[in-house]
Every structure is written in structure tokens, then in C-alpha cells.
Symmetry: C2
Subunit: 133 residues, 2 copies
Amino acid sequence: MLGIEKIDHICIAVKDLESARKVWEPFLGKSAPDHAYRHDPEAIDVARYYVGEVGYELMASTREGSDVDRFIKKRGEGVMLLSFKVPDTVEAMGKLREAGFQLLDKTPRIWEKSRYAFLNPAFMNGVLVEVID
Amino acid sequence: MLGIEKIDHICIAVKDLESARKVWEPFLGKSAPDHAYRHDPEAIDVARYYVGEVGYELMASTREGSDVDRFIKKRGEGVMLLSFKVPDTVEAMGKLREAGFQLLDKTPRIWEKSRYAFLNPAFMNGVLVEVID
């Protein structure tokens, strides 16, 4: 329906990015992130590693009360988000609405050249799902 | 270090497999699981869908008190496991031990032609990690 191509990335909510890197880099066989960035609108500091075709992201909060901070306080560290690659986010959002899925966003969010939107995890078996193009 | 090739599969713990299928099949654009199986040693009933190179698994408990049942009772439905493909599970287990990682298994578990082992999520930022060959 949406033309999902792959799992684009997986986000792991961590308390401390530096100590998480010390766990995951040896595990993944990396000496540094493949990409590192800070995303102020979501108050996150991110280390991304490519594992096959999937971006594996360690994500720490940069501000008390951010989504990541609240996730960790409520559930502890762990997998917070699964992001699915679609050809066109706006088209996917339309199809999702038509099919009765509950989106958290009315319009796509934008980050660099990608547009993305979240689905309500309450209707996705507890999984916070993102579609991204 | 371990020669991780890709994310092999992701497991979502769900209460009811049939109703979860009705959510995820339209989302993933599938009319049926690519593979469906029951794994009695772990008391799970599984619907697997390939999303790119990754197996996306919906997993329901077949017995009260199983790992999946306890996971859901404690944390609710959601992402329960990330499995990473390695060339050789036994070799990976040796390297993980040497590097100070905490394995939950002394010897690999076996399922069909694969050997797999779990790492302790308490030392992996709350992520239940599996290595599989």
C-alpha cells in the first residue's frame, strides 16, 4: 500500500550517549559513529551506525522533559522508534488516513531532505512507528 | 569484531496475533505472512514479514508465564528483541565474552539451521539483543 522499501532506522533511547557508544561500537564493530548529529527540535543528540541497510541510532536527550527524557523516565532505556522508508511521505500519510491509521502529525515534519510523520503507538501494538522519505 | 552483516529480525510482542496481523499487513503491504511458525520451546506463535533485508516478526505467547507473556504484562506490547546476523554464533559468543559482554546463554540455542544466543539487556541500554547465524 505505502510501498515500504526497508526499515530506514531504529532509535534506541539512552541516558548517556558516550557510555552507550562504549557498549555499541565494539558490538557493531565500529570505531566511531557513521554519522553524528544534534537535532534541536526534538532535543536529541544522536550517533548513527549503518548495519546493513538500516541506520542504528543511539539517541540521548539534550533537555529535561523532551520526548526521549520522558520515554526513559517512564519505561527505561530501550528501543523507542522504528522508522520505515516510503517513496513519498505525504502520499503515505494520505493512504494511512484513508485506511484508518492514526497519525500523530497532520503535516509532515522535515529534517534535511526527508519528510517524516509518526503513527500513534496505541494503535500499532505499542510500537512508535515513523514513515520517512 | 563480530562481523555483523545486518539486522536479521525484529520481534514485536503482541497480545493477539490475528488482530496484530490486521494492523501490520495493510501497513506493510502484505496480504499474509511471508513465513508463519510456532516455536514451542519459547512458547511463541510468529508471523514474519520481510521488510527489505530484515525479518519483521509479530510474536504472540502460546502459554501463560512465557517470556513474551511476562514481557507484555510488565511493559505492554512493543519491540521485544533485535537480532543481529553474524557469520558464526559460537565464534561471536567467544569474542563477546572476551570483550566483557554479558551473555544470557552459555551455549547457543538452535532453531532450524541457525544458532543464536541472547545478551543481557541490562548491559545493552535495555535492548534485548540476539546474535544469530
